[in-house]
């Protein structure tokens, strides 16, 4: 499996994905200037923009890298050669996933460094009223990586279901949007405003809430931007949620992939 991770990583670098990220990361240079448009929260705006740019890059990576990783191998008939080797399909899938996850971690380190430089620069120009909480920014980046790695697992699951390019890409985008909204929908149906809904709609929404991934738990942006403290037990629960949900999705993907007919 280690060799599969290494092959996956090399493949990603060969496809010049990293150069693409670095090109996009040039937008970081504009952040201090754009932040000056703020009247009362220059540093906070620079953190907002930097973290949002990170999230956008990770979203694009999850959708296009995660969604096309298996599809591309199958299209190129590269998988047939690999699967002929003494390696289970599950190991192949797990190796591919671990390679992508490792690449995400690497990207997070580079983008995180860019974020820190940009925020440091902005905060030295216009010192914020409250000191920047660097550790919460780092924590926010780490949880962002977890969220998008989970999204990659979902993209892998869609890839094992269909050889088409469209299902993994659009399916992943749909799950991303739904996963970001489930908590709000759940809160709404359990508030007084939700009393007007029929019990069937409420039950369906609750069912979807438990079934779909809950991405809002991974979003620590507001804590990072305004230096708000985080709940340690909440973070631990979120890590546990990530590990269990990702394992479940990946094992389901492996199950489907190992039974799939390759023509």
């Amino acid at each position: 499996m280690t060799s599969m991770i290494s092959v996956t990583l090399k493949g990603i670098f060969r496809d010049r994905v990293f150069q693409g990220i670095l090109m996009t990361a040039l937008i970081f240079l504009l952040i201090p200037t754009v932040s000056l448009l703020s009247m009362r929260q220059v540093t906070e705006l620079s953190i907002t923009l930097a973290l949002s740019l990170n999230s956008l890059i990770f979203l694009l990576l999850s959708v296009f890298l995660g969604g096309t990783m298996l599809w591309k191998d199958i299209e190129r008939r590269y998988s047939y050669g690999v699967l002929g080797l003494p390696m289970t399909r599950s190991s192949y899938l797990a190796g591919k996933f671990a390679g992508v996850a490792l690449f995400f971690l690497l990207t997070a380190i580079v983008l995180g460094a860019a974020t820190f430089v940009v925020v440091f620069f902005a905060s030295s120009l216009y010192p914020p009223e409250r000191p920047v909480q660097w550790e919460i920014i780092a924590l926010c980046l780490f949880f962002d990586v977890m969220k998008y790695v989970l999204l990659v697992a979902i993209a892998f699951l869609f890839s094992t279901l269909s050889t088409s390019f469209f299902l993994p890409v659009f399916g992943t985008i749909a799950i991303f949007l739904a996963g970001g909204a489930t908590q709000q929908v759940y809160d709404y149906i359990h508030s007084t405003a939700g009393d007007t809904l029929t019990p069937l709609v409420k039950q369906a929404a609750s069912g979807l809430y438990y079934l779909l991934p809950n991405f809002s738990a991974f979003d620590l942006k507001v804590n990072a931007i305004y230096g708000l403290s985080t709940s340690f037990s909440g973070l631990l629960l979120t890590i546990g949620y990530f590990l269990l949900y990702t394992t479940f999705i990946l094992s389901l993907a492996a199950l489907i992939f190992s039974r799939r007919e390759m023509r």
Binding site: L49, S55, Y226
Partner: protein, 288 residues
């Protein structure tokens, strides 16, 4: 080979011809068209996913840019009725998406209370912000000013100033309400408040709006001084500002908002502009 070359050259030429009028059309569109349709915050919350804070910042920036454009037009003496309801709606959406966004509260305070005359809406937003920005002294400071100056509710103003003093560590704020409790001190209160904000403001559009308002209040103060002198000299209130000018106590005052100053029967100084640019008739800012 010739056809693609001809197409490229001609399309580039037509593009250059078109881009001027195209950019002009986009720049001159009404505010509501320029920002496009902004859905309710409930929808925005769902689709913004993990970009709620950045969406809120963009909404505030849109309003700021529009406001900056208005100030520019006013300087060039072009009369444009500000679309306050649309601005207010965007600010409300912004604080729903990111209840910590200070720019939104700050802008709301600067515009809703002064230009639109909706101190109630501004105070509601400030109270909303105080629930989240529990460390911020500026929000209670603004609310204190609104209660003292606009509403003349000195007891509530004291409470807010007390809070601002506790949060900032400056005892001065705690005494503010008491110091300016007299009607005579209202203009001075406004001038001091505006001077403090104007000095700390780096956004040019907002700074300009503070400067205009400061000029207006300094003019009011000049009239008040002349009125008091007249009263001391003649033992009665002047009938009009013209009387003060004729007596040589005052050079003719100028309202930067384009209105005319006048004296109310009780001697208070007022202006036909009400210290704001003309608004669209019947327009009301959005409420939460």
């Amino acid at each position: 080979m010739r056809t693609p070359l001809l197409l490229t050259t001609s399309s580039l030429l037509f593009y250059l011809l078109l881009i001027g009028p195209f950019a002009g059309y986009l720049q001159n569109r009404p505010f509501i068209e320029r920002i496009g349709y902004v859905p309710s915050f409930k929808v925005l919350k769902l689709v913004a996913a993990d970009h709620k804070e950045v969406t809120a910042s963009f909404l505030v920036m849109k309003v700021l840019m529009y406001f900056g454009g208005l100030i520019e037009l006013t300087q060039n003496e072009v009369a444009v009725a500000p679309d306050y309801p649309a601005m207010s709606r965007l600010i409300h959406n912004a604080v729903e998406l990111d209840p910590y966004n200070m720019d939104a509260y700050y802008f709301a305070q600067a515009i809703l209370s002064w230009d639109v005359g909706r101190v109630d809406l501004a105070n509601k937003l400030l109270d909303h912000g105080m629930q989240y920005r529990t460390w911020d002294w500026q929000l209670p400071y603004f609310a204190g000013f609104n209660h003292a100056y606009f509403l003349k509710d000195y007891a509530t103003a004291s409470r807010y100033y007390q809070r601002a003093g506790e949060l900032s560590g400056f005892d001065l704020y705690k005494n503010l309400a008491g110091r300016y409790m007299q009607e005579a001190g209202r203009t001075e209160l406004a001038i001091r408040y505006l001077s403090t904000l104007e000095q700390g403001e780096k956004n040019l559009a907002i700074k300009k709006s503070y400067q205009l308002r400061l000029i207006a209040f300094q003019e009011v103060q000049r009239i008040e001084v002349a009125r008091d002198e007249y009263q001391k000299k003649f033992g009665r209130l002047p009938a009009s500002i013209d009387q003060l000018v004729q007596e040589g106590l005052l050079t003719p005052p100028v309202d930067p908002y384009g209105g005319n100053f006048y004296l109310q029967p009780d001697g208070k100084v007022a202006t036909t502009s009400k210290f704001a640019f003309a608004t669209k008739e019947g327009s009301e800012p959005a409420q939460k």
